[in-house]
Amino acid sequence: MGGALSHDADVMEVTAEAKRIMVVALGKLYSSRTQRGGLRLHRSLLLTMVMKSARDMYHAAQETEWAAAEEQQPPTEEPTGAQIELQEGKPLTSPGNEVENSPTMLRRDADNKENMSPPRPTQHSRKRRGKAAVEPDFLPCKKAKLEQKNVPQQLILSTVLLCEYMNCSSEVGAPPAPMPVQRAIAAC
């Protein structure tokens, strides 16, 4: 269907741009650690905010994509807990309406998502984590996720992100241990 295809193209564009912005932000954050004069709090904060909004946009775009894919297929299995989670969120418009409104729609979903759905494994959790086992939240989590068929996509994305930012920081020597987003600015 034409509507679904162009919707997919838009979503792909947004996700590609969001991903690029995230990767660039990570590269800049890491290279700023070796900058003369120490970590600049203002710059790190702005980079972290850009990264978060890009990531929120990316996840929201992914959700609409999965929801759109969902709608096109009859459900073949019992809805998992995570699927119910998705449906509890703000109702998503059908693919036909997505095309013009996708940026604002995605943003609205992103904003509302935090309020409505419980924290997801790959999302930024507001809960303060213990100092010990802090896992970067863009790496795949071991908890139950959405439908099986979407899991490989997430894994691929996370691995790509990991590889790309590692490459970014390779000029500055041995890449430091990955840090979760919210820790990036707490380090100073």
Binding site: A18, K28, R36, G37, L45, M49, R183, I185
Partner: protein, 450 residues
């Protein structure tokens, strides 16, 4: 980088090798400030040096050399330091210079790097005592048998010597990087602001400062904004303003409480939802805030605009000026090449009728608040022959109608940025810092403010 020679810098030549495009990083000017009379102009650079220029008095014999600025003094204000506890190098770059109002023959200025503020005394010596009894002219002790009579040493004129000495060092009060200093109108206190805190100092006391603003959250993970600039009100010694990375301004009254975390007024413009993008937060961050000379208005600069606020109206700015809106569609590339993080300063003219700020390609902009006219000028060697009139420039959108001498957005040189500008307090004289060069432009026809 970092190593210095003792070459005396001149007005147009500060480490810039004419035959090459190489610029010594230490020579990059990082702050420019006129003193209260406009007689002196101080610049600070990345290498921690301060250069002071003095305006030559107007002379009737040479009418064209009146009012030119020449080097008065050069000194090393800050040196690179190392914080052993945090394993951090502290840059010697001078972030801000502020002059104290002159109260005697000497001049005083405050200069700061990321961590330490220093008070410098600049004084002239043009006489020296001669005719000592026990020493000869070269200072050697005289043979007492040759001394037959007593004389009283007399002060004799000598070549002018400018002496600079550090009078106070205000250190160890800032965990984060100092971005602003501002002298209070009481001429006894001043404040220094870093990313999260503002401290109040007495000019005579270095071992103590009072923290008057602290926006550090209990948990750093909850940090959402930082302080970007701060300034005291020009007349009311109890009022000051500070700007944030979220685009807000807070006016605080020190009479209300010892810790001014609660603002008296909050100036914030609601965000335009249709203009939202990935970079909205970055471009709304205020990079500079300046009170008008009257104290009635505030001038702020964010990445794309300059805004004038009325102290009596918190809901939105009085005036918004587009500095280089043609960059709005290029934010992603400006983000990738780091230009989006550039911090431009802004300035008022003496009568608060014109505002000025810098841009890229060595362009700077002036906006007349009354006539609503604006002009784009360029600070470059080619366009700045002595006595030449600056030609207005125009930037046109890529592919748009192009007049002769227009420059297209895609041809702009983003490495040539004018971040620091200053306006003489009374006259139409402006100082523009273009990387490592300082340009001083005078409006001879309209010397008086109107």
């Amino acid at each position: 980088m970092g190593e210095d020679t003792d070459a005396t810098p001149t007005l147009n030549h500060r480490g810039f090798l004419p035959d090459h495009n190489y610029v010594t990083e230490a020579d990059i000017i990082s702050t420019v400030e006129f003193n209260h009379t406009g007689e002196l102009l101080a610049t600070g650079d990345k290498g921690g040096r301060v250069v002071i220029f003095q305006r030559e008095p107007e002379s009737k014999t040479e009418p064209f050399s009146q009012g030119e600025y020449n080097v008065y003094s050069t000194f090393q204000s800050h040196e690179p330091e190392f914080d052993y506890l945090k394993s951090l190098e502290i840059e010697e770059k001078i972030n801000k210079i502020r002059w104290l109002p002159q109260q005697n023959a000497a001049h005083f200025l405050l200069s700061t790097n990321d961590k330490t503020i220093k008070l410098w005394k600049v004084s002239e010596r043009d006489k020296r005592p001669e005719g000592y009894n026990l020493k000869d002219e070269e200072g050697r002790i005289k043979d007492l048998s040759t001394v037959t009579s007593l004389q009283v040493p007399v002060l004799m004129p000598m070549d002018l010597m400018v002496e600079v000495s550090p009078r106070r060092v205000f250190a160890n009060a800032h965990t984060y990087h100092v971005n602003s200093i501002s002298v209070n109108s009481d001429y006894q206190t001043y404040m220094s602001a870093d990313d999260l805190r503002i401290n109040l100092w007495h000019l005579d006391i270095t071992d103590r400062s009072f923290n008057i603003v602290d926006i550090k959250p209990a948990n750093m993970e909850d940090l959402t904004e930082v302080i970007t600039a701060a300034e005291f009100h020009p007349h009311h010694c109890n009022l000051f303003v500070y700007s944030s990375s979220k685009g807000t301004l807070r006016l605080c009254d020190m009479r209300e409480a010892a810790l001014c975390d609660k603002h008296s007024k909050l100036f914030e413009e609601p965000e335009d939802p249709s203009a939202r993008s990935f970079f909205s937060e970055i471009i709304s961050s205020v990079s500079d805030v300046k009170f008008s000379h009257s104290g009635r208005y505030l001038l702020t600069r964010d990445y794309l605009t300059a805004k004038v606020w009325d102290l009596n109206m918190e809901s939105k700015p009085l005036e918004t000026y587009q500095v280089h809106d043609y960059l709005r569609s290029k934010l992603c590339s400006l983000y990738e090449n780091d230009c989006i993080f550039d911090k431009f300063e802004c300035a008022w003219n003496g009568s608060d009728s014109v505002i000025m700020t810098g841009a890229y390609n060595n362009f700077f902009r002036m906006f007349d608040r009354n006539t609503k006219r604006d002009v784009t000028l360029e600070a470059s060697r080619e366009s700045s022959k002595p006595r030449a009139v600056l030609k207005p420039r125009r930037v046109c959108a890529a592919g748009g109608k192009r007049r002769k001498d227009d420059i297209s957005v895609d041809s702009l040189d983003f490495t040539k940025k004018i971040l620091h500008t200053a306006w003489h307090p009374n006259e139409n004289i402006i100082a523009i810092a273009a990387t490592n060069n300082l340009y001083i432009f005078q409006d001879k026809l309209n010397s008086e403010m109107h």
